[in-house]
């Protein structure tokens, strides 16, 4: 596994995309809800949190603590945004996919 090649899991990719979609409001619960809404899959908050932490460690995400809130017992949220390499990573995945779609022969497409 070479360092310079993007290596994203399917779920990681999904989380990165959703963080991009949510823009300024990406924190644990909102990300989980967005994925549940868009991808219709049941998630646990702990799974989302662990992926977010991993992606931050890999440098695809950065985070900051928000201001005090009124709900959730006044506790602050940790907001996530995409870093440059995060954006590169999802782009790279998309390009690779496009390339593969392009070279797929028409014949096999019909049979699909």
């Amino acid at each position: 596994m070479k360092k310079n090649r993007t290596n994203l899991g399917e779920f990681e990719e999904l989380v990165l995309l959703v963080v991009g979609v949510l823009n300024d409001n990406a924190y644990g619960i909102s990300i989980m809800e967005e994925i549940e809404k868009q991808a219709r899959r049941k998630l646990s908050i702990s799974a989302v949190h662990s992926v977010l932490t991993r992606l931050e460690k890999k440098g695809y995400l950065k985070s900051y603590m928000g201001g005090e809130t009124n709900e959730r017992g006044g506790r602050r949220k940790r907001f996530f945004t995409l870093t440059g390499s995060g954006k590169d990573a999802i782009n790279e995945v998309r390009e690779m996919r496009n390339k593969l779609w392009d070279i797929m022969p028409d014949l096999s497409m019909e049979s699909l």
């Binding site: 924190y27 644990g28 619960i29 646990s44 908050i45 702990s46 799974a47 949190h49 662990s50 932490t53 603590m65 005090e68 809130t69 709900e71 959730r72 017992g73 006044g74 506790r75 602050r76 949220k77 940790r78």
Partner: protein, 894 residues
């Protein structure tokens, strides 16, 4: 951290305990966001759920956050200091073990016994529960149990009529498959010059392998067991007759008259199957298998239901098959129309007995093999756990009793800064070390005595059973549980000492917990006394059964089996034998008053078909010497006689039969039954004059009442019995054998004595009494081990007191009494508790027997005395030792 949630209603708050758990493991860096997310989740997403469920879901989410990256550092990194401490705990534990070798020995021995018991019982229970589970369709396989009622008389049997299974398969779509098995009984099997007597032979339908998951090694599933006179063998039998040779295509000769073609080989039927067969003959070899009646009971029939089918639905549809098959059949047998079923007080039903229940629950007559009993599974499990518990009690008692000796150690440790937790860890380590040592020894013991255990419970458990999942799990869990259970109490008592008080010299703090120790000793001895009473009662009942006046003389009767080998020369053989003056008389008969297959026939008093008393009654075929040979008394009328030609249509009843028919003058009456003079014609009704009545005799286990019997003077060939003189038994057997060899050259000779067969009827009781004796012995052994330790301790603590008493003139006797009194009191209390419990238990056990001994008070007194004597002997060792010490020695210090 700001806490603003106070203003929210308390019911809608997440559980505090879950939050505390989160705070314990979660690192501060992530704490705020995680807790915030969880609370938001609780408020917004979990609000569809209410009450406990909402809390549980919250807890579940908190638990799922328990991931390595979130954990506090101190949770992840093992503190080097603690590792050193563990080392030190172990070191201290081992030192203590060695220093107090006597107490360690008592603890470990007790635990070894307890753990061995638990392992064995686990093996036993696992084996009992595994019966028939190897069959892939076991969960939807049922055995048809006949449940008939004819004129108010019920008849139940694990056997059923020949056409029932096939009929059900034809009429009910839910029945996927059916198969029948019929036991063949002992058979002489011959191949070239190899000849053996085989006891486990059966006929089976060709569908056998569709129902039972037994592997065929040679032959095709769809071909074997089809053609008449074909046979398939188990691997073991192949080995026995053919060695390494391929048996398929060879011929075996059965009972010296029919050749069977070997068409296949199957893997041995597993030990945990409710039936076994070393050879299976095709059912088509058995002529009557296709001509049997619905209302008979001759075959073990098994049906497999389709997936998801409900057995109740099947039972609901019985009326249709009764109308279609059973009614015409009964009309044909009775020769008249029987009208409506419901008016006749007749019931023909088949209970669907689940295959998996057969071994542990089935009690219907005519089982394949003696079954297990779920009661014993429960009883043994309970006793096993009790014995382990008794061993733990020893540990607790000795540890708390000796706590004063370790109080100083605890005091010093506390002063130099040890906290309570590490003290508890220290004591638990010690007890776990002890139980691990005990476990290792126990496994070695189990390996060594497994063969004896197998003999005791009559099983064949392999060493590999120890490697099964549940046993391995138990081997890991047992030391942990025992260690914690046994170490828990001492750990808490000892670690709670106040160092200031202890170091001041007041050591009595922990020792005063005498009531707990006494309570536990009482518990141990209550258990022991109950077990002793149980053992004695079982032995008593066994003695009663074996010595009860049976109504016949079972001693000195030699039974020669397999007389069908004699090929019609039975009478010649008998006459030849009787020439020997040592042999008093001989008789050829179908049945004997010991466990044997029996048959009943519909018997009609006075030939009156409409009689209320028309019912199946045992039919015994005998000759004129039967009653004389077995010592059965004729109370009215006369015996059969060879001179009276009319005796071929005469019969003799037993008293129970006379009573059943309600006759005052039985000799004026007749009974009738269907006989089959020609197998190709329908049966005919024949009347028999009652010419005599014999005194009732017990021909079955004393669990049952004496059933009615009708004796007929008819030739039979199954067994010959001889009453012999006792002078020279070996000579008599040699003589009978030589006559046998002359009459039936080349046929194996087998004989038994009637009293042996009689004892065999009570194998189950004998087994239970043996197992109970072992358990009772172990329980009292463990109890005494504990007492031995405790009395040693008491004597040790009272050394000075005894010294002073002796100086003032106390005698050895008074010292022994002083030390034994305490323990004697405890045993008395145990007896008072144990007696009513044992009485209740044994009363319900005895209720199973139609003939039983009473529960005598002496049994209880004897058990109590036994426990008392054993306990006092144990205690007196140390008491006497203490009493003999020279007071000058014991008072020398200080």
């Amino acid at each position: 951290m700001p806490r603003k949630e106070k203003n929210i209603d308390d019911h809608s708050m997440p559980p505090k305990s879950a939050d505390r758990f989160l705070e314990w493991y979660c690192s501060d860096y992530y704490m705020e966001e995680v807790k915030g997310d969880l609370h938001e989740l609780f408020q917004n997403k979990l609000c569809h759920h209410f009450g406990l469920l909402r809390w549980l879901l919250y807890w579940w989410n908190v638990i799922r956050f328990f991931r390595p990256y979130l954990l506090r550092n101190k949770l992840l990194h093992i503190n080097i200091g603690e590792l050193y401490m563990l080392n030190s705990y172990l070191k201290i534990a081992l030192r203590n073990l060695r220093k107090h070798a006597f107490y360690s020995f008592i603890n470990i021995t007790g635990l070894v016994v307890g753990v061995v018991c638990v392992i064995f019982i686990l093996l036993f229970v696992t084996d009992e529960l595994s019966y028939d589970k190897f069959n892939k369709k076991a969960d939807r396989t049922y055995r048809l149990v006949s449940d008939f009622m004819i004129r108010g008389n019920t008849f139940q049997s694990a056997l059923s009529g020949g056409p029932v299974g096939q009929g059900m398969k034809r009429e009910f779509p839910e029945v996927e498959q059916q198969t029948r098995i019929r036991q063949l009984g002992s058979t002489i099997v011959k191949y070239k010059d190899i000849s053996h007597k085989e006891d486990r032979m059966s006929f089976a339908d060709s569908t056998f392998f569709d129902v039972f998951s037994i592997e065929l090694i040679a032959g095709k599933k769809d071909e074997v067991l089809r053609t008449p006179n074909s046979i398939i063998l188990s691997e073991t039998s192949v080995q026995k007759y053919f060695g390494k040779k391929n048996p398929v295509g060879e011929f075996l000769r059965l009972d010296n008259d029919t050749d069977y073609n070997v068409t296949g080989v199957y893997k041995d039927i597993p030990a945990n199957s409710h039936f076994h067969a070393d050879m299976l003959c095709s059912m088509s070899s058995l002529e009557f298998s296709t001509q049997d009646y619905w209302s008979n009971a001759n075959f073990h029939t098994y049906i497999v239901l389709a997936k998801g089918a409900n057995p109740q639905d099947l039972i609901a549809k019985y009326p249709s098959i009764l109308q279609m098959y059973v009614k015409p059949e009964i009309e044909a047998l009775a020769g008249t129309s029987i009208g409506d079923f419901s008016e006749l007080n007749l019931k023909f039903e088949w209970i669907l007995e689940p295959l998996l229940d057969i071994h542990l629950y089935s009690t219907y007559p005519h089982q394949f093999e003696p079954n297990g009993d779920i009661q014993y599974v429960y009883i043994f499990s309970a006793i096993g756990l009790f014995i382990l518990f008794l061993a733990c009690i020893n540990f607790v008692n000795l540890a708390t009793a000796r706590s004063s000796l370790r109080a100083k150690e605890v005091g010093i440790k506390k002063v130099v800064g040890s906290d309570r937790r590490s003290l508890i860890t220290q004591f638990l380590t010690e007890s776990i070390v002890i139980s691990i040592i005990a476990l290792l020894i126990a496994v070695a013991v189990v390996l060594a005595i497994l063969p004896f255990f197998n003999t005791l419970v009559g099983k064949n458990i392999q060493y590999t059973a120890l490697l099964s999942g549940s046993v391995m799990l138990a081997l890991i869990v047992i030391p942990l549980i025992t260690g914690i259970l046994a170490g828990f109490f001492p750990a808490f008592v000892l670690s709670a000492f106040n160092p200031a008080v202890i170091l001041k010299g007041n050591l009595s703090g922990g020792v005063k917990k005498g009531w707990l120790r006494s309570g536990l000793v009482v518990f141990q001895f209550t258990t022991s006394i109950i077990l002793i009473v149980c053992t004695l009662v079982v032995l008593n009942q066994l003695h009663y059964i074996q010595n009860k006046k049976l109504g016949f003389d079972k001693d000195h009767v030699l039974i020669v089996e397999d007389t069908n080998m004699l090929d019609g020369q039975t009478e010649i053989f008998k006459d030849e034998i009787l020439r020997n003056p040592e042999i008093i008389s001989g008789t050829v008969s179908s049945f004997l008053p010991v466990e044997s297959a029996r048959s009943s026939n519909g018997t009609i008093p006075d030939g009156d078909m409409t009689s209320e008393k028309f019912q199946p009654i045992q039919t015994w075929r005998i000759d004129t010497d039967y009653f004389k040979t077995l010592g059965i008394e004729i109370v009215a009328g006369r015996n059969f006689s060879d001179e009276q030609i009319t005796d071929s249509s005469a019969c003799i009843l037993n008293e129970a039969c006379v009573k059943e028919f309600g006759w005052d003058d039985p000799l004026e009456h007749t009974v009738a039954r269907y006989i089959l003079p020609d197998p190709n014609k329908p049966p005919v009704l024949k009347e028999f004059n009652v010419i005599g009545v014999v005194k009732d005799f017990h021909f079955e286990s004393l669990k049952n009442d004496i059933d009615p019997i009708v004796f007929y003077l008819e030739p039979s060939t199954s067994t010959i019995s001889f009453r012999i003189n006792t002078g020279n038994i070996a000579g008599v057997i040699d003589y009978v054998k030589s006559v046998w060899t002359q009459t039936a050259p080349g046929q194996p000779f087998s004989y038994r004595f009637m009293d042996e067969s009689f004892d065999n009827m009570y194998r189950a009781e004998t087994k239970v009494s043996e197992i109970f004796s072992v358990f009772a012995g172990l329980a009292i052994f463990i109890g005494c081990l504990g007492l031995f330790g405790l009395s040693a301790f008491t004597a040790e603590r009272k050394t000075k007191e005894i010294g002073i008493r002796k100086v003032h003139g106390a005698t050895l006797k008074s010292v022994v009494i002083l030390l034994s009194k305490e323990f004697a009191k405890l045993i008395l209390v145990s007896f008072v508790i144990a007696a009513p419990i044992a009485y209740y238990l044994m009363n319900s056990w005895l209720a199973d027997y139609a003939y039983r001994t009473g529960l005598s008070m002496w049994t209880f007194v004897l058990s109590g005395l036994l426990a008392m004597v054993v306990a006092l002997i144990t205690v007196s060792y140390h008491a006497i030792k203490a009493g003999l010490i020279n007071p000058a020695k014991s008072l020398k210090y200080e």
